[in-house]
Each structure stands twice: as structure tokens, then as C-alpha cells.
Point group: C2
Chain length 457, copies 2
Amino acid sequence: MLEALRTAAGPGNLILDREALEKYASDETEDLVFWPAVAATPTTTAQVSALMRVAHAHNIPVTPRGAGTGLSGGALPVKGGLALSLEKMNRILEIDRANLMAVVEPGVITQVLQEAVEAEGLFYPPDPASRGSCMLGGNVAECAGGPRALKYGVTKDWILGLEAVLADGTVINTGGKLLKNVTGYNLTQLLVGSEGTLAVVTKIILKLIPYPPFRSTLVATFDSLEGAAVALTKIFEARIIPCATEFMESSAIQAAAKKRGRHFPGMEAPATLLIEVDGYDRDVVERDGQRTGEVCLAHGALDVIVADSPTQQKEMWDMRRAIGEAVKGLSIYKEEDTVVPRANLPKLMRALDDIKKRHGLTTICYGHAGDGNIHVNILKMQMSDRDWAEKLPPAIREIFTEVVKLGGTISGEHGIGFVQREWLPLAMTKDEIELMRRVKAAFDPKGLLNPSKLIPE
Amino acid sequence: MLEALRTAAGPGNLILDREALEKYASDETEDLVFWPAVAATPTTTAQVSALMRVAHAHNIPVTPRGAGTGLSGGALPVKGGLALSLEKMNRILEIDRANLMAVVEPGVITQVLQEAVEAEGLFYPPDPASRGSCMLGGNVAECAGGPRALKYGVTKDWILGLEAVLADGTVINTGGKLLKNVTGYNLTQLLVGSEGTLAVVTKIILKLIPYPPFRSTLVATFDSLEGAAVALTKIFEARIIPCATEFMESSAIQAAAKKRGRHFPGMEAPATLLIEVDGYDRDVVERDGQRTGEVCLAHGALDVIVADSPTQQKEMWDMRRAIGEAVKGLSIYKEEDTVVPRANLPKLMRALDDIKKRHGLTTICYGHAGDGNIHVNILKMQMSDRDWAEKLPPAIREIFTEVVKLGGTISGEHGIGFVQREWLPLAMTKDEIELMRRVKAAFDPKGLLNPSKLIPE
């Protein structure tokens, strides 16, 4: 069997050495570690197909992975078997200016593609926080989001076609370089966000747009998220659609400020919004930035700072981007990726406040207010291991129950993967989960592709 | 069985009378007629579910339908059985200004929703040609497109969630009022465009944006489509993304002019583009309209006419909108909904020209150039029935073969339905079709929902 895998993988593409295997045993999800028996790093679709055929014949579980930056354990080889890394399939095959599209392999790092298309005056908007290290194949598998989703959508909105390998090694193509396509079921969109449980993506056709060269960035502070949420609604009513509306609790900014050893604007206020407007016309972008600030001030903002230089814009984003790591550095933590209809954010924040107080937990919240997508970081801090183990699960259940009651769901952009799947029955009915199980079986009857993910046991 | 159906449908919602059944025996696809045994017009999801349960228990084929404006036979009850019309479920349940979303039943006419949201300053962009009569449930089933797809996307890009009834009567919900959602497979997007073969949609959550109040409309004439295609590319390079780039052959405009009994701009030139730019800023829209015209003139346009009043804009659109019916009124016809990567449009047009000449056929082409989506109308004209029956199938095969060779596919926005499904093997491999069959079986193991559609026998 190993010989068959070695032949299938191609020369130098099979890894058995324990030290070399270590990087395939974890991703960025908490401190979880699951060792694969073997890893493969194929360089062609034919090799991926050959590997899947061998795995299929020998009933070997296969866990596809990109850069391993996921936050829901999607890349963890929970059942051992073969870790199938697409890292070497990292070529940008084409930047097609006439059609405004790109064709890439799954191992291309998101930011590498973005910089390559920007050099041609083009734009690929999805910008997950990990864009400097995550890979487009993983973005497709997880349907990665990010701050720009409000205006530009998430990964799925930019994927026009895929080449993928099924569990039995069959290579399929879905979609194409086509802006309109109703030929057959939309398997492209079914595969996006399927977390590597239905097929292994080996090629991606992406949509691009002209690069919007102008941006106006501002920070607005509020005495509560309710205030910030009202201002957001008023911004939309003024027919401005920002490309980012990032929400941060003061504790989030303070953690970032401490980590960076500096002061950040907005760090004293209970709630802060970082808002950015972008576009193709300098005057309009500047005017919309000004108007956005005015709307905030007219609707309860304590203060508004409009960045007056690219340096200041960069500082504002540096603050936002420092938060994730800073918060996670404070303590052992558990992050929940809640999402609700935008207008229900204030209700969610009040409910979270209540839940954390009742359970004696520390939380820090930040995220994408315009999308209703708030990352709730629950911090262990000084709590005993026993208390943490006892208090956390019921608190999470209460949070998710509240989220669903507010019309939301349990993951906006991080995925279900391994760590959230047992919570899925809070968000979906038995019938819906059963239907997903049948869809999974239609693609992978033996259940070998990324087992123990997305669907509860 | 009839009694069970009658009870399930609800009072007054079951139709057996042959005269009343007639409207459920056809749609707008050529002159095809298939009679259902019975039709139902339920008013609630519970009634739809009850009907599906009865049909499932008695193995009755069910063909869901909206307004019957489809062009691929999706609403034809090919196997008889029950025609399930959603026409009475026609309420706009909510226009949610805070979240910029709407919740509607499937029987709402597209234009009715558009006008309702426009009255609130909001915008639902998808605009299939039949928007005055087609229903949103049908738009979802077919993933309807239209001229604005280039800038705003097609129906799928505006659908955030669905309530749907499975073949056995199970009611499921997918998605929600959420801009980000990675909880489970994207069943919403699998259902959009599934042509009523996977489930019956009973509720739709749509995304809205602020209404763009300004538009600039122009007509540019060219001596060939190649010229028009080059100009289009230059428009994108100038960072202008028009909301429509409609292509018309001179014969298409002449048919429209004859029907309307008037002269239209561009009717003497071999190729005409109707281009529209829209947006939130009057100056930018006006300037982009002017720049678009200048780019066209700098890249081969014979003439450019920028509409100087809403009346003239309306006239230009009247020309475009008159074409479909005018062309179809000329003769018995067969319409193919070809789509290729935009940059390959000139090659497609040359190939079409060659094919029609070799087969001695008359064609008139028009469509959405920016999307690479061209409707090829093949006209019988004076050809004998025998010649028509003999020449048409090999010509269609050649057209579709060429389309696929150019990276395109056999339907951009009309769907596969009943009339295109036997051509599907030209566009998809056996493995891909087999996979779709398994997906269909995951939803509808008995094969009762809209049988004889989308997947070849």
C-alpha cells in the first residue's frame, strides 16, 4: 500500500518521517494535534487523482489541506491516514485581463495572488485575516471571508469554476470562465465551503475586477454597540456601502495596543468602528469618507478620526489586525464565530454580556459589524482548569442558542470542521443534517474524504 | 388519491377541469405542450408539504412552476402527474431596511418586488427579460440572468436563504438573513438553478442594495463584433464597469424597428452595443458615460449616441427589449442560449457565421456581450419542414461543440430543462453527469420531482 501511495504521489512527494509529518498534524485551531500516518505533497492533478485512487482502494482516510491556517480544525487528520497537502501546487496559471479572471492552483497564497493581480491593475477582494499565509484552496474549502465581505462578498462570490478530484480519483470540472452558467447543478458553489469533505480542489477559476485605487479610512467611537449599529444603518441609508465596517470592543483595542506597545485611536471608548470606503473616483471616495464621518457624528459617535494619510490608514488597520493575535495571547481561549442579521447585533451583544456575567467568564469581541459577524473570544484567564472545563460548554451552548434565536448561525466564516460539528444540531434540523449526509454520500460513499468534519457523528 | 390531493391542496386549490388545466400544459418554450393530470395552487408551505407527501406516497410525478415564462421547458409536466403552481403564494413578506433584505414567497412577480423595494430607495438588480410577468420562484429555479448581470451578477448572487419542500414533503431551511454563513454545505446555492428537480422553493430571502438613481445610456455602432469586443475590453481597462453591455446584430434591430414601426439608432451598422452605466453619483455616472463613448470612438466605433434624456434612454431600451419578441415573430425558430468567455465572443460569432452558411440557415444574434452570453435565434423562414428537421440538429450540435471548444457552455441563463438536456453530454463528462444523478437521488430518491429535466435520460 505504501509503495502504491509512493508511486501515486510522484518522486519526493510522500512523507513518512515523523519529524516531517509534524506540520501536517495540526492547524491553527486551538492546541489540537492529530497525526496522519503519512503525508503527500503532489504537484499535479494526475498525482492527486492517483493518490485518491489508492486511498479509495485501500480505504485510507484522506485529509486535504492547504496552509493549515484554519480555525475550525478542517485540516486536522482526525482519523489518521493520508494528509494530502496541496502546498506544492502553487502556480498562478493565468491572469486573464481580457476576461478579468485568473486561473490558479490551490496552493497559491492569497496575498501572492492579490499582489500579482494588483500589479496588473486588477483586484481580488476576499481578504481573510491570514491572507499573508493562507492558500486559495483553503479559502475555497472554507469559503473564507474577511473585512471586505460587506461590499465585495466572500470567497464564493469570486469563484467561477473548479477542477476537483472526487474520493475515488475521478477528476471533474465545474463552471468555467463564465459569468453566466446554468448548465447543470451549481456544483461549483456546492464545493465552495464544503471543507474538503466532497472533493479535493486542484484548480480554481477566479473572477477579478479593476483595482479601486482610492480609499478613505476612519475610526468612529461610540458609547455602545447599539449606537454604532444605528450609525451603520444610517450610513447605508445615505447610499454609502463601505468596504469595511470593523467593530472592536475597547478591551480588544487595549490588547492590541499593549501588544504593539503604543496608543491606538478609540481605545478608551466602549465601542469602536473602523470604517473604510473605497472606489474608482478620488473625489467621491473622499466625499463619502467625510459623509460617513458626519453620519456617525450625527448619530451618536463620540468622536470621528478620518485618516489623513496612507500612514494613518495603515496604523488604523494595524490596530485592527493586531487584535486577533493579541487577544489570543492573553490566555487560553475559545473563539466562536457568531453571525446574526446585522440589525440584531445589539441584541446579540446584550445577550453575550448577560451570558458571560452569569457564567463568570471573560470575553473580548470584535469582528465585521456590517456582516453581523462577531468573533467572540472567551478567555480562561485565571480560571481553574476544572471551572473552565465545566463552564465553557454550557456557555457556548447558550451563546449559539441565542445566535440562532436571533436568526443567525454558528459560523460566519471560520467553518464547522471538527470543533463545531457537534453544535450543528442547534443550527440545523435533523432532516437538514440528514440531507447533507446524503449529499456527502453522493460524492464520497465510503466516507473517506476529510472524515469527522462538518457533519456530526 | 384525488381526495388525498384535494385535502392536501386546501379548499379551491385543486384543478381537474381540462380547460383550467390548459395553462399548466405549456410554458414559453417553443410550441411544446404536455398535459398534467391535475394541478394544484397551494397558498401555504404546509399545503405544499402535504401535496408532496401524497405525491410521494402514490409515486405521482410533480412539476413545480411559477409564471411559465421559461425558455427551456422547465415547467412542462412531461410525465403528466401533478402541476404544482406557486402562483398564489405571492406575498412580499418583508422588506427589511435595516438588514437590506427582503423575504418573499415564490409567486411574487419580479417587477412587483423591484418596484416595491425601489419605493423604499432599494434595489434588486436581476432583470430577466420577462421581469414583468416571471416569478421569483422561477427566477431561483432557473438562476435567471438579464442585462445587469455583468455588474450585479445573476439571481444566485442575490439569494441568501430559502425555505424549500423536499420530494417526500420534508420542509427545510437553508441560509438565512446572513451575509456570511459557512454552517454546513451551501444548499442554498445548490438549489438555485436546480430547475425544480431537487426541491420546491416556498420562501426566498433576497439581498438588496441602495437604489442607484443615476444612469447614462448610450448606443455605439461597429463594423463588426470584433470591433465591439475590443472596445468593451478597453472600457473595463478604463475601470468602468457598465451595468449593461447589450449586443445586437443589425438584423435584430431591424426586426425590432419593423415591429415597432419606427427607426432605431444603430440599425444600419453590422454590430451595435447598448451600454449603460449606473451609480450613486450624478457627476461620476455622467462622466463615465462620456468616457465610455470616447473609449468606443477611440477603438473603432462608427458612431456613438449618448442618450440626453430619460425618454431617449427609454427608447434605447425599448429597441433592445422589442428584439426578442420581434425576432421570434419572424418565423418558426429555435433559440440557443450560448455563453463563452467574453474574450472569445468574436471567435464564436465567426464560427456561427460559418455554421449557418454551411447549413443554409438564417440566424439572428443578440444578447449580453459583457457576459459572453449570446442568444442565437435560428429561423426556419421559408425552409421546408423536412429541411428544417434535417438541418437543425446537426447545426445545433456544431454550435454547441464550438461553444464548448471556446471554453463556454450550452446555457448561460435559460436553463437545460427539457429541451437542452440531451445536449448536456457535449458540455459535461459522463462522470460529471453521473455525479449530478447521485446528487439528484440524494434529494429525490424516487425521481418524482420535475422528471425528465436537466439530466439526460
